[in-house]
């Protein structure tokens, strides 16, 4: 994808990543196929370096602060007590949820409701047991520098594999806590989700931070849905101020498969959430939705890529951004409809609400269509709160601050209301509303 090679900006830090990798690689103990994948990823990263804004896909997201940071690459993971975990209040998404907790990228069985079931195994255990894992199929390390780092360095994550027609009724909740310490920490979360034909599950990923030091989390999730399989996916990205979160997700959908994903990007100073979906079988469908809320100088980037490779596919995208302070939002949504993909129905929508003069957004919805019998549409808007609506509410006795909050929440609720898990929706709504009232309060009204 990225043929352009810019010289690595900071060879010093790059070298440190390479050294750290070589140290790890020398330890061995993994299947040769995985070691080869990791080496290939590291080579790709070495060649490409940290992305610069001269690359089209990274044009609006500057990661030089990450490139320059001296992360403790060999630091041991922290351990987290149940009390410490409770203190950062991970959401309850359903009373009966399967809760799988990861601390600094390592599975923490003592904090989890399962350590192993037929359909779940920590990746580390699967690797140690010599399982042949289909990693790297959905996300290519080449052209995805942070996914490359993730591939080279991840130690653990969730491997969720449902047999044909297996239905996991209760939602599966992956909770990631990145702990900050004296030295900046880099953590890599890796998930492999495989649903065989007709299988069904709901998966929620939550990313939280503990402490105020600098952290980098890279997250890669690979989703493989076989015929008629269905996955409901929600991601809550809620880290602290000093965190950077760079994620790449990808799903491959066979015939009739259904993938629904909702992203709530509410935390971390610098967040990038990318998701690629390939529709490989007819009648496959996906919905990608998301909400990014930024205040202060937060930067949130959402990237999507939907590849319609075969006929009769449906894809919908609906992303909304609320931007306050001096924050910056980015939406870059791409849809590719290949020549064979007749009767494709692809919709894409991005709406942004700017709450302050200094906030900004770059939005770029793109449709690339090579088939002639398709139904496709896209649109992007950037607006402010409607002064007429504010006045209408005020004329009924509602204060200006409350009126702005009410209208802002109404804008965000369009995405929130799609969440089916009631406790999860309530949690996200509370998080969001408190963040939005902070934003409205900063208007100085």
């Amino acid at each position: 994808m990225s043929a352009i090679q810019s010289p690595p900006e900071n060879p010093g830090q790059l070298e440190r990543w390479v050294d750290a990798f070589e140290e790890r690689d020398a330890v061995g103990g993994e299947r040769e196929s995985l070691r080869e994948l990791r080496r290939r990823a590291m080579r790709a990263f070495q060649d490409e370096g940290f992305p610069t804004t001269s690359l089209e896909l990274w044009r609006y997201t500057n990661v030089q602060s990450i490139a320059r940071t001296d992360y403790g690459l060999t630091a041991a993971p922290s351990s987290l007590s149940q009390e410490a975990l409770d203190a950062i209040s991970p959401p309850t998404i359903a009373a009966d949820a399967h809760r799988l907790v990861f601390v600094d990228g390592h599975f923490a069985p003592e904090l989890s409701s399962h350590s192993r079931t037929a359909w779940f195994s920590p990746l580390s255990a699967a690797i140690a047991a010599g399982e042949e894992l289909d990693l790297g199929r959905c996300v290519d390390p080449e052209g995805h520098p942070f996914a490359a780092l993730n591939t080279a360095f991840f130690v653990d994550g969730a491997w969720i594999h449902l047999a044909a027609d297996e239905k996991v009724a209760a939602p599966i909740h992956l909770i990631h806590v990145t702990t900050a310490g004296a030295k900046p920490r880099a953590v890599h979360a890796r998930h492999l989700i495989q649903l065989a034909a007709g299988a069904r599950a709901t998966l929620v990923e939550t990313y939280l931070g503990q402490g105020s030091g600098e952290t980098l989390s890279t997250a890669v999730i690979e989703v493989q849905l076989e015929r008629e399989a269905e996955l409901q996916h929600v991601k809550l990205q809620l880290e602290e101020e000093n965190a950077a979160h760079i994620a790449q997700g990808a799903a491959r959908l066979a015939q009739g498969a259904r993938f629904d994903s909702h992203l709530f990007s509410l935390g971390a100073r610098l967040a990038r959430n990318a998701f690629d979906v390939v529709l490989l079988g007819e009648q496959a469908s996906c919905r990608l939705a998301g909400l990014y809320v930024c205040d202060g100088s937060r930067h949130a980037d959402c990237q999507t890529y939907v590849d319609h490779a075969v006929p009769h596919g449906t894809s919908e995208q609906h992303y909304r951004g609320v931007l306050d302070g001096q924050s910056h939002g980015v939406f870059n949504g791409r849809v590719l409809v290949r020549e064979d993909a007749q009767k494709t129905d692809a919709q894409q929508q991005n709406a942004n609400l700017l709450l302050s003069r200094d906030a900004s957004v770059d939005t770029k919805p793109q449709l690339e269509i090579y088939a002639d019998d398709v139904k496709c549409s896209h649109g992007a808007t950037i607006g402010q709160l409607d002064p007429q609506a504010i006045f209408y509410l005020r004329s009924r006795g509602i204060g200006e601050h409350a009126a702005r909050g009410m209208l802002t929440r109404a804008f965000a609720d369009e995405i929130l209301d799609e969440i089916e898990l009631e406790p999860l929706r309530r949690f996200a709504s509370e998080r969001l509303h408190s963040k939005l009232s902070d934003a409205a309060a900063s208007q100085g009204v």
Partner: protein, 253 residues
């Protein structure tokens, strides 16, 4: 005490003088009708009273219960008991009608030092009001005015008025676009307020509404001034003669 006293009010919009010395006094329990040609300044008066941006008061004053109304923010005016039923109500997608109206009523109650109503108490109240105005309950669960027909929007304004129970209701052409049943509904809403010794200023072009709600006073506004006042007979006269006489009076003067 006088409820509303407007003295020599002068208002400009975008540097263009619109109201040019308007006087009007409204006492508790009175219904006043304000009539006049298009562009004469009726909505400008209504908006100025409600505190909308862009209406620059260049002279005169407005007292509400003896206090300077023009000093108050729009929300403070509403909390003091001023209500404007808009000529063109705004659609607010995503904000639930009933939620909005509860927030509004509670803002007023809080201001008056009364207990706020919880969702259940409010629902009981609003459902009863909606029923008495012949409105379907389904309007309560929809977004504020979104996709409402012209007449439904006006009814929704009247529902808000009935719930908020203002001391002064200003109805800006609430009757236009209404069917006969809705017209009666509006009149009932207004008569209820009147019964409680609350006051109403009705802006209208037609006698029709005045058949149902009998005004105590009728005023004719022209070029930003009240040029004639009378009782309900004046409205009938206007219906018959139109506003041509205004020009003649001006030519004769």
């Amino acid at each position: 005490m006088t409820l509303l006293k407007i003295e020599n009010l002068q208002v400009s919009v975008e540097d263009k003088p619109i109201l040019q010395g308007l006087d009007l006094t409204v006492n508790p329990g009175e219904v006043h009708a304000l009539m006049g040609p298009n562009g004469s300044g009726k909505s400008t008066l209504a908006h100025t009273l409600s505190g909308r941006d862009g209406y620059e008061v260049t002279g005169g004053r407005v007292l509400f219960e003896g206090r300077d109304l023009l000093e108050l923010s729009p929300e403070e005016r509403a909390r003091e008991g001023v209500f404007l039923a808009f000529q063109y109500p705004v659609e607010i997608p995503g904000v639930n009608n009933s939620y909005f109206l509860r927030a509004s009523l509670n803002a007023l109650r809080k201001h008056r030092g009364e207990e706020e109503l919880d969702a259940m108490e409010f629902l009981t109240l609003v459902k009863e009001k909606a029923r008495s105005l012949g409105m379907e309950e389904s309007f309560l669960s929809r977004s504020v005015n979104e996709g409402f027909s012209g007449g439904e929007k006006k009814r929704n304004e009247i529902l808000q008025m009935a719930v908020l129970d203002p001391k002064l209701a200003i109805l800006d052409e609430t009757d236009s676009g209404l069917d006969i049943d809705a017209l009666r509904t509006v009149a009932e809403g207004v008569n209820q307020l009147k019964n409680e010794a609350h006051s109403v200023l009705v802006v209208t072009h037609y006698q029709r509404l005045l058949d149902y709600l009998v005004p105590d006073f009728v005023h004719v506004i022209s070029e930003g001034r009240i040029v004639r006042s009378g009782d309900k007979e004046l409205a009938l006269e206007l219906e018959e003669k139109g506003y041509g006489w205004l020009e003649e009076a001006k030519a004769g003067a």
